[in-house]
């Protein structure tokens, strides 16, 4: 097993855990945490492909990962803001109760 394969395996595991959390949890904050996990699995893949790729001396993969983390941070802030607003409005963070977004 090459070092790349093991990194990819860890990343895939992390993604699966995040996906399972996002699909099964009812609490909106826990779903957000699952999404963050999936994002970080992707970041891990980016770093791994860069480190074991043909041009490790160019800092492309790292730059990509840093951007991704910054975007994720912004996204988490927006998501948490939305969750707080919904909580204030509906007094709950249960996703099954928030089914009004349909035509």
């Amino acid at each position: 097993m090459t070092p790349l394969a093991s990194y990819l395996l860890v990343a895939a595991l992390l993604f699966s855990i995040g996906l399972a959390g996002a699909l099964t949890r009812r609490n909106a904050i826990l779903v957000l945490i699952g999404i963050e996990l999936m994002l970080n699995a992707a970041n891990l893949n980016l770093i791994a492909f860069w480190r074991f790729g043909p041009h490790p001396e160019a800092l492309t993969g790292m730059m990509f990962a840093i951007f991704s983390i910054a975007v994720a941070a912004a996204e988490a802030a927006v998501g948490l803001g939305l969750v707080i607003q919904i909580h204030r409005h509906a007094k709950t963070t249960d996703l099954d109760a928030m089914n009004r977004m349909k035509g």
Partner: protein, 689 residues
């Protein structure tokens, strides 16, 4: 005889001629303001009307004085002011007004008689609720009539002429709630319209030939020699020149307005209007407009006459006039309504004027017009005073003995009656003698002379009969008669003075009026009066008048017959009496011919309308209706059906797809994840193969 001093023509317009339009304009503006007043503003309406009329009278007197001053200095004044109304292609339509002796004399007569009648009406109409409307119409009439008088364009003349006809209609039908008044107004309007159609035709013809409707325009007018020569060179049908044919057409219009046979039928019925209206419109002014028209276009009527000769239009005018004079006088003998007698008398006198114009020229006819205006207005206002005093009674058989009850009215009425009969020295004597003298010397035939003398006998007779019925004998009506107030009797007295004195302006010894109108000088010559020919004529006419009055007094005198008893003459000759009483059946004749024809024609038109045109329209309509039904069927079953089906499909499939959208975020995410798994499986599977 008189030496003729040649008068120099004066054509440039003086300031007074430039301002002449004010004379008709002021009463019309007053009428406009009065039309906006509310009913209770009675004083203001009367003040406006009388004020505007006084202004017109004053201005007319200035204009008359101006013309008179010119005449005494040997100037034949004919001042015109012309303006272009509008232009069509190369032809201009022009309006204008003229100040000459003819229009000046008429202006003074119309405004003076009009003013007196306005003042008289303030009392006569006192109890009418539509007082303001009455004065509005009267002012409008006066303005239109003054427009007729000053017009220098046949078009302006015609416009004002029609306005006069309109106001006549409005005033005859003033008491429109009386069916007889409403139908009399309609009759007057339609009968005069018959004449006006011919008038309009003549006008159009004149315009097409000469290219102008102005009477006088420094040599370019339609009544001046160039245009007349042109008209004489054109030949119309039946050996007439264009001038002759146009003259006849214009005379037809004049005959309608002036109540000449056979268009006289409206005038007696017009007496349904208020009495001041009868006096102003249907005795003094409007009916004289036809005579004035002939006098105005006299150069056209006379065009082509050889020395001492006459022309076809003038011969027609004479015969129609003479026949009307006798015809209407005959009918007047057997009437019992005080105003109707006067109405037929007016028709008869208008016949005299027409005959005078036809045989003796402008001055002879116009002189009778002016004197007649005064004494006929006097008679009508006297009749109004009698009607007022007898509590709206108009039947002379239910009056009588008013001599002592209404002394002022009796005196003035007597003067009017004598003037109308042609009693010596009074105005009617001189003007009627002028006509008789012209008839005596007429070159064509002597018959009109005898007709007119017979008419004079009848006139004296029927007027005596009327006066005997109304004023002599004893009272036969209901209640008691009373004299009218001063507002009514003072105008009577003023008119009576003129009815006596006015004739002195046109005696054969001093024919001032004729000289003034014709633009020559005159002087006083006693010896003409005693020339055998003229003296004989004057003695004859005096004898005729005295015979008429004597007969009247002899037959009707102081008898005061019972209202129900048949007339003295009826006992003597029942059959002719009945004919005369029924107005010689002219109305019935029209009812059987013209009106029956129109009724029949209206029925035919109605039938055509209902069956032929109506049927055609209905069949076209039914074709379209059938087509519309087919369209509706196709629309409902084909177009709508397919469209509805499509809509149903879209709606149901939308409902199915809406099931997918639950609104739960995690459901969407699960489907997404499942889809990725399936996609990945397919990718792996396909790369393997």
């Amino acid at each position: 005889m008189q030496e003729t001093i040649s008068f120099t023509p004066q054509l440039t317009a003086s300031p007074i001629a430039e301002m002449l339009w004010l004379v008709p304009a002021v009463p019309i503006v007053a009428a406009g303001i009065a039309a906006l007043l509310k009913q209770p503003r009675r004083k203001l309406a009367a003040t406006l009307a009388i004020g505007s009329m006084s202004f017109s009278l004053l201005f007319s007197l200035f204009a008359f004085a101006h013309v008179l001053a010119g005449w005494t200095h040997g100037l034949a004044i004919r001042e015109t002011v012309n303006i272009t109304w509008f232009q069509v292609g190369n032809s201009q339509v022009e309006l204008g007004w003229v100040l000459d002796p003819l229009s000046a004399v008429m202006l003074v007569m119309v405004t003076f008689v009009g003013l007196l009648i306005f003042i008289y009406s303030t009392r006569y109409m006192e109890h009418d609720e539509n007082y303001t409307r009455f004065f509005c119409f009267l002012s409008l009439f006066a303005g239109a009539m003054l427009g007729v008088v000053i017009a220098n364009s046949l078009l302006l003349f015609f416009m004002c002429w029609e306005l006069v006809g309109l106001t006549s209609y409005l005033l005859i039908g003033f008491w429109y709630y009386k069916p007889s008044a409403a139908s009399a107004a309609k009759k007057a309007f339609l009968t005069t319209r018959v004449g006006d159609v011919f008038f309009l035709l003549g006008m159009v013809w004149l315009f097409s030939q000469t290219g102008t409707l102005l009477f006088y325009n420094n040599g370019a007018g339609s009544l001046e020699s160039n245009a007349l020569l042109l008209l004489l060179s054109q030949h119309a049908a039946l050996g007439l020149t264009a001038a002759g044919a146009i003259g006849l057409l214009i005379f037809a219009g004049a005959a309608g307005k002036s109540g000449q046979f056979p268009l006289h039928v409206w005038l007696p019925d017009a007496m349904e209007g208020p009495t001041p209206v009868s006096a102003l419109i249907h005795a003094a002014t409007m009916v004289a407009a036809g005579v004035y028209l002939i006098a105005r276009v006299y150069p056209l009527m006379q065009a082509g006459a050889l020395a001492g000769g006459t022309t076809t239009p003038l011969i027609v005018v004479t015969w129609v006039g003479a026949f009307t004079a006798v015809f209407a006088a005959l009918i007047a003998v057997a009437q019992n309504d005080i105003k109707r007698i006067l109405a037929y008398s007016t028709v008869s006198q208008l016949g005299y004027m027409m005959a005078g114009l036809g045989m003796g020229g402008v001055a002879v006819g116009m002189f009778h017009l002016i004197t007649h205006a005064f004494f006929k207005a006097l008679l009508f206002m006297g009749a109004g005073s009698v009607i007022h005093g007898c509590h709206d009674e108009q039947d002379i058989r239910r009056m009588g003995g008013l001599k002592s009850d209404m002394p002022i009215t009796f005196l003035t009425y007597g003067i009017g009656m004598l003037a109308l009969s042609g009693f010596p020295i009074l105005s009617g004597f001189w003007s009627k003698d002028g006509i008789l003298e012209a008839a005596q010397h007429w070159s064509v035939a002597k018959t009109p002379f005898y007709m007119l003398v017979f008419g004079a006998l009848l006139t004296a007779f029927y007027m005596t009969r009327q006066v005997a019925y109304v004023f002599l004998g004893h009272w036969r009506g209901h209640g008691t008669a009373h004299e009218s107030p001063n507002v009514m009797t003072v105008p009577l007295a003023i008119l009576a003075f003129f009815a006596m004195a006015l004739g002195l302006l046109g005696t054969p010894a001093w024919p001032w009026f004729h000289a003034f109108l014709e633009g020559r000088s005159t002087r006083f010559e006693w010896h003409i009066l005693v020339e055998p020919g003229l003296l004989g004529l004057m003695l004859t006419s005096t004898a005729v008048v005295l015979a008429g009055i004597f007969l009247g007094l002899k037959i009707y005198g102081d008898r005061s017959p019972k209202p129900e008893a048949p007339d003295v003459l009826e006992k003597f000759a029942p059959m002719p009496w009945r004919w005369l009483r029924d107005r010689l059946y002219v109305d019935e004749f029209y009812a059987l011919t013209v009106i029956a024809f129109y009724t029949w024609w209206a029925r035919v038109a109605d039938w055509l309308d209902r069956k032929v045109w109506g049927g055609a329209v209905a069949s076209v309509a039914s074709v379209f209706r059938g087509w519309a039904h087919l369209n509706r069927f196709l629309d409902a079953n084909v177009v709508d059906g397919s469209f509805d089906k499509g809509c149903d499909e879209i709606s149901s499939s939308g409902g199915l797809l809406a099931l997918l959208q639950t609104g739960r975020v995690q459901t969407y995410l699960r489907i997404l994840a499942l889809a990725i798994v399936v996609l990945t499986a397919i990718l792996i599977w396909s790369s393997r193969a």
